[in-house]
């Protein structure tokens, strides 16, 4: 990959990787750090990576880095990163997409990530499996369960009857 192609990846995929990480951990500073680390790593091995495969590489590297950060935080705080105390406060007058994003925050990180990769980036189950190092069956399970949970959130918050 050339320097020009590297810069293209920054312009083309930078926002994509950032929003994937940011929506996964809901922390803009950490998301910024993770994406920056990812691109630093890409720059160090810029000559070894083909431009066609760089998008998956970016998402995979950023995802792994995010998992490391989540694990580290869980150890430091002594609590589970995933907070299951979902607040089903009544949603009123919000756009469905906004409500879904709030509902997304109630999901476990693994489900959240695979749904983001599926919906935001349109990756196939196989590609998501490669990025997240899960099996294809696991990816499907996480996605379907995640969608059921999102639907339940909509019903619980009276967005859907």
């Amino acid at each position: 990959m050339t320097v020009k192609e590297y810069n293209n990846t920054v312009r083309e995929f930078g926002d994509h990787v950032y929003r994937f990480i940011f929506r996964s951990i809901k922390d803009s500073h950490r998301a910024d750090d993770i994406v920056q680390d990812t691109y630093e790593k890409l720059w160090r091995c810029v000559t070894e990576i083909e431009y066609g495969a760089v998008k998956s590489w970016l998402f995979s590297t950023a995802y792994n880095r995010m998992i490391d950060v989540i694990r580290k935080d869980s150890r430091l705080l002594g609590v589970e990163y995933y907070d299951d105390s979902s607040l089903y406060a009544e949603e009123n007058g919000s756009d469905l997409n906004d409500v879904l994003h709030r509902a997304l925050e109630t999901l476990p990180p693994a489900q959240r990530s695979v749904i983001l990769l599926r919906d935001y980036e349109g990756y196939s189950y196989k590609e998501i499996a490669d990025i997240t190092a899960l099996s294809e069956a696991q990816v499907k399970t996480y996605i379907f369960r995640g969608r059921v949970a999102l639907r339940n959130y909509l019903v619980m918050t009276s967005v859907w009857q």
Partner: protein, 371 residues
């Protein structure tokens, strides 16, 4: 070895599960949670073969379930307007652009240096441009304080007026200040070679102030200053300079500098009388130099005098001094943040010259002049 077929084997009998038919399930019998998972997969087009057929069968049997399954198709996240703020930080400059920018910086720096040379160069010393320079300094030629004996810069064939001016000044100055060597007066007149005739023919006004330095309403008119200077007999050519006159000259220079808020220029304005303490130069020691080289010497020594007069420290003007001044000028004009610095050891010996900017940073080691 015994064959496996030779051993006795158990053969299953015809035992059958009684009522096993009760365990069969139909798709419409799926629990809601089970159906939701199936519907989510169906909405994601992840079902195929028998699974898809059975689910379609269940959906067909119940409009309510079909509506429920279709609702999963609406559960799709669209990206919000999340922007990565640090994106530009990660962009790298490719070598071609880097080389172009580097060349551009060097070109601009050289252009600024040449511009400084043109502006600060000896153009102002020509008679046509005299009015643009500070005449207070010009009235007492600063070259006298600058030119060392080793490499004087002067015309070897001064005009006739120079001789008369020299004689005139020798007579007058020598009378006023006998401690001053007369040969220095010779150089004094010779340095302003181009205008030597002017000096002898007409007195040059002391208080000519450049237009660019005149704040409105504050600066007295040029005629006033000239008149004041004339009344005080402070002329550059033929009038004798007594101690009182020199003191008056100091006062006048200081007042002019204060009026223009040029406190740093006071030592410069007052530097001319102190020039008489410098070593004299004989005309016979002077060798002719090409005009261009003479102008370069004039520039470098002029800068040296300025630096000495303002900082009151001995300054040697070299390439670094000029380059640093140019870089500061470029920074001021273009708002850049380039920096040039010299590394020196404890003995004051230069080790390297470092340059840094947002695009380019380099360090050039100094050439060793001593082993």
């Amino acid at each position: 070895m015994t064959e496996d077929t030779d051993l006795p084997r158990l053969t299953p009998r015809g035992d059958r599960l009684q009522g096993g038919g009760k365990l069969f399930r139909r798709p419409e019998e799926l629990a809601d949670e089970q159906f939701d998972l199936l519907a989510a997969a169906w909405s994601d087009d992840a079902l195929g073969g028998d699974s898809l057929a059975e689910t379609e069968e269940a959906l067909a049997s119940s409009p309510e379930k079909r509506m429920r399954a279709k609702s999963f198709r609406q559960i799709r996240l669209s990206p919000l307007n999340d922007r990565w703020e640090g994106r530009n930080r990660m962009l790298k400059v490719d070598p071609g652009t880097y080389a172009i920018r580097r060349t551009l910086i060097v070109t601009l720096t050289v252009a600024a240096a040449l511009g400084a040379l043109v502006i600060l160069g000896p153009l102002k010393t020509t008679p046509d441009n005299k009015s643009t320079g500070p005449a207070v300094v010009d009235a007492y030629p600063m070259s006298e304080a600058l030119i060392p004996e080793a490499s004087p810069v002067i015309n070897t064939r001064p005009a006739e007026g120079v001789t008369s001016a020299t004689q005139n000044m020798n007579q007058t100055d020598g009378a006023a200040n006998p401690s001053v060597d007369k040969t220095s007066r010779t150089l004094h007149a010779g340095v302003i070679s181009g205008s030597a005739a002017d000096i002898t023919s007409k007195p040059r006004p002391v208080g000519v102030i450049p237009e660019s330095l005149k704040p409105e309403g504050i600066v007295p008119q040029q005629n006033d200053i000239t008149a004041s200077a004339t009344n005080s007999s402070i002329h550059a050519n033929s009038e004798p300079r007594t101690t009182a006159e020199i003191a008056e000259y100091h006062d006048l220079a200081e007042s002019i500098a204060l009026m223009h808020d040029l406190s740093g220029a006071v030592p410069l304005l007052a530097a001319a009388p102190e020039a008489s303490r410098l070593a004299p130069v004989e005309l016979k020691d002077i060798t002719p130099l090409p005009a261009l080289e003479r102008e370069e010497n004039w520039l470098v020594r002029g800068l040296s005098l300025l630096a000495e007069a303002i900082t009151k420290e001995p300054k040697s003007v070299d390439g670094y001094f000029i380059a640093d001044a140019c870089i500061r000028g470029v920074n001021r004009v273009l708002g850049w943040e380039m920096e040039l610095e010299q590394e020196k050891n404890n003995e004051g010996e230069q080790l390297a010259t470092n340059f840094s900017s947002s695009l380019l940073t380099f360090s050039a080691p100094a050439k060793k002049t001593h082993p």
